[in-house]
Amino acid sequence: MSALTKTLHPDEKVKAGKLGGSMFKAGMGIAVVFMAISIVFGAMAGDNFKRFLHAYVIGWAYIFSICVGAMFLVILHHLARGRWATAVRRVAEAMTMALPMVFVAGLGFIIPILAGYTDLYYWAHPDAHNHELNHHLAHKLGWLSPALFAVRYVIYGVVLTAIARYFYKTSKQQDESGDPKLSENMRVVSGPAIIVYALVVCMAAFDILMSFAPKWYSTIYGVNFWGSACVGGFAALGLLVLGIQRSGRLVHSVTADHYHDIGKWMFAFTFFWAYTAFSQFMLQWYGNMPEETHWYKYRLFGEWQWVSIAMLVGFWAFPFVFLISRWTKRIVPALVFFSVWQLVFHWLDLYWNVMPSYDWTIVQHGEQVINAGPLMGNTAYHHVGFSPVDVTVWIALVGLLVAGIGRNLKGNLIPVKDPTLGLSLAHENL
């Protein structure tokens, strides 16, 4: 008989067992140790934790984006009546279920802002209200006010957590009952859910990342962030599934064809990221309006120039030419290499988006940067440079993400009674 559908291998270990618990402990250990180191670094810097909090927001956006990327697979799988991903969907669901913990971690920068900390976002600083300096910021300050910002943050957290919980809980419920009606329900919910998801992700990107440069304009920014997030999400999903297989679980269920498809998504979003990033750049380059081009000017010249080139080559060109091949996606060491590679560059993408705004001279000058003469020789701009706290905070928050995912890896690691599981287990790429 044909290989169109299969049943679970009788020897398959589908229970998470102690795996989730040990992930939680290891992740928490890393998070605590590295956060302690980071706080020491942050205090030693003597800059009122400004650098620390910038790095914290980057690290937070990183773990948030990975959950968001996994959530895209979960929703789309239902929306498109997906087949292939059923075998790895539970792992993706567990990743999205780390979101409540991620949003709690985000309070690490929300609470200081609410408490009157002014050194993180320029719009929260009294200078922003100086009409002489910032008259064209005035109309944005209603939206970018600490209280409203915090309210939106809570809304984003509640909405995304609700979506994650719905799909996770319903899928778990189906593990018990095997009721095919539940698949139908999830399909109905997935339509509205993906619209809400898209809006929330875009708005979160505008608020939390783009508002570091409050004088800048870009409407595609949220989409670009989402593209980058999905690269990270699928890279992390591939690595996580591989790790689970290394622990002796799901060894028969997840095959090279599933990795192939995860790799395809990673490849597709690698290009999608480049496409939107270039769209954003090219329109502003062509339009040549100072209120837009200043953002690029201080990234394409001076100390950020090489980071920008590294982004172009490292996050797009190099992975693109290799991931386009079928074999890179099917041979596990190659896929692991590029997953890790893209996860690092995804972080660099967020870093490149946020950290140049660490220098407020640039943020404040906005479009005047264009008229400020050759940037490289201009002493008005500080040296942002690199700080070890940038990396230690990132590692701490990744540890937290691992812990958050581990906490939800319990019970079945595969939706054992999903009606499409048989098709997914027999999945083959042409």
Partner: protein
């Protein structure tokens, strides 16, 4: 010779030699079938087809193929055929599309015909990316589509298997496996048994047509290909001829009813009117809506009395002269006038700056400079309001008229704003309100206004600050030795009357 009843049907028979007469027994009939071409087996499901293909491969057959209505997962591996090289072809062709797209843009815009677009470099990679992206996609798709055809030996308009009725169902619901007789392993009985044992629901032999004429592509198809290829060259030939010859014939009109419409265009001849003109002019005694403009002062800036007509010195009575109108004038001035005359009216706008930067020399009128001691220059200051209005409306020298872009009221607002600019540029201490004046250091006795007098202090260069009141005290409080007896410069002309 095996005979399958299916073979009787829908077979193209050799023309003129077939059984088109009922008494075909009298003519020696041709054998129904020629040499054995191969064996074909039908399977019930794609899964069985995959298994049969695997058995065929394991038995050492190489000259065989599977036929199904849709792509079957795993069939490539089961048949033991190596992976297609199509992706490599697509990559190579697609990449040449990238290079070709960039080369095209370099050739057209940076080499053959340099063209400045938005002040960008004639060859700039960011602008080339979208085109290069599109050419990459286009050529990749072509390579994928036509490469697939070529690698699959398509289009195949004739094949021995087409003689089997069963084969016609392969685009519908049949899953077939055919092994050709030319295979080294082929043995009719053994091969048939192998396929039947693999679960076939039917196995049948396929014979070549006995008529050699039917072993090749039908002549009409060949004729069609040759003819359509020849036709494809006709437009090219016409274009080539048109480029290399001259002709006095009129254009070919493909849509004559669009090219020759039953209507007249402006300023053309029309025989049916007495004056022979298509333009009918205005009917005497009438005037078009919105074209009356009878108020000479408002619409033309002319103050007319019974005996005389002069440029008006004031503003039309319809306008309320207040700060709001000045602001409106500023807004319009900054949009329409500042590109040449500059925001301050000195004639140093972006356009003359650019002319200067590119090596040219052109300056628009300085709207605010006063006349010198001999009364030379300062035309815009000396102009009556009505003449300024007329200049904005109808232009002057190289300046085009702006009547079509700016409404009447806005043109008067600009006149008002130009007066304000002139007043500000030529301001004296008297223009500063006394209560504000008290807060300033005492000015030197001859408060040096920023007139271009040769003996004026060095501060009075060609670019005085608009608020010259603050510059003057500074030079007065620290008088340079020897400049104490600066001659009083000419009093500034009263800018506004």
């Amino acid at each position: 010779m095996a005979h399958d009843e299916h073979d009787d049907q829908s077979l193209p028979r050799p023309s003129g030699r077939g059984s088109d007469t009922p008494d075909n027994n009298e003519v020696a009939p041709l054998p129904e079938n020629g040499a054995l071409y191969g064996v074909i087996a039908e399977y019930d499901t794609p899964g069985e087809l995959v298994e049969a293909a695997r058995k065929g491969r394991d038995a050492g057959y190489t000259e065989f193929d599977c036929f199904s209505p849709f792509p079957v997962h795993g069939i490539d591996e089961a048949m033991g055929i190596k992976r297609t090289i199509l992706p490599l072809i697509i990559f190579a062709v697609g990449f040449s599309g990238t290079l070709g797209g960039i080369l095209l843009q370099w050739w057209t815009n940076a080499y053959d015909w340099k063209w400045n677009i938005s002040g960008k470099p004639t060859w700039s990679i960011p602008a080339n990316v979208p085109i290069a992206f599109e050419t990459t996609i286009l050529l990749s798709v072509f390579a994928a589509f036509f490469g697939m055809w070529i690698l699959n030996k398509l289009p195949q308009v004739w094949h021995p298997y087409f003689r089997l009725e069963r084969f016609g169902r392969v685009t519908d619901d049949a899953f077939l496996l055919g092994i050709e007789a030319k295979d080294e392993q082929f043995d009719n009985e053994k091969t048939t048994k192998l396929l039947a044992d693999a679960g076939a629901i039917a196995v049948e032999n396929c014979y070549l047509d006995p008529d050699p004429a039917n072993k090749q592509m039908p002549k009409w198809i060949m004729a069609f290909i040759v003819a359509s290829t020849a036709f494809a060259f006709i437009p090219l030939a016409i274009a080539f001829k048109a480029r290399n010859s001259t002709s006095e014939d009129p254009h070919i009109h493909i849509f004559p009813d669009m090219d020759f419409q039953p209507k007249y265009k402006a300023d053309t001849a029309a025989d049916q009117f007495a004056d022979g003109r298509a333009n009918r002019g205005e009917i005497s005694g009438t005037i078009a809506r919105g074209s009356l403009n009878a108020d000479d002062e408002l619409y033309h800036g002319i103050a007319r009395s019974e005996t005389d007509a002069q440029w008006t010195q004031g503003f039309p009575r319809q306008l309320e002269i207040n700060e709001k109108l000045v602001r409106r004038g500023q807004n319009r001035f900054n949009i329409y006038c500042s590109p040449c005359h500059g925001y301050d009216g000195r004639g140093l706008g972006a356009v003359p700056q650019r002319v200067t930067a590119s090596g040219g020399s052109w300056l628009p009128a300085n709207l605010v400079a006063p006349p010198d001691e001999k009364g030379v220059g300062g035309r815009p200051i000396k102009m009556p309001n009505g003449q300024l209005f007329n200049t904005i409306s109808n232009g002057f020298s190289t300046m085009m008229g702006y009547a079509n872009q700016i409404t009447v009221a806005d043109r008067w607002a600009i006149v008002l704003y130009v007066r304000a600019l002139q007043r500000a540029y030529n301001a004296t201490d008297k223009d500063v309100p006394p209560e504000m004046m008290r807060n300033m250091p005492a000015p030197s006795a001859p408060a040096a206004p920023a007139a271009g007098s040769g003996a004026a202090p060095a501060a009075g260069s060609a670019a005085p600050a608009p608020g010259s009141g603050s510059a003057a005290p500074a030079s007065g409080s620290a008088p340079a030795p020897g400049s104490g007896a600066a001659p009083a410069p000419a009093a500034p002309t009263e800018p506004s009357k």
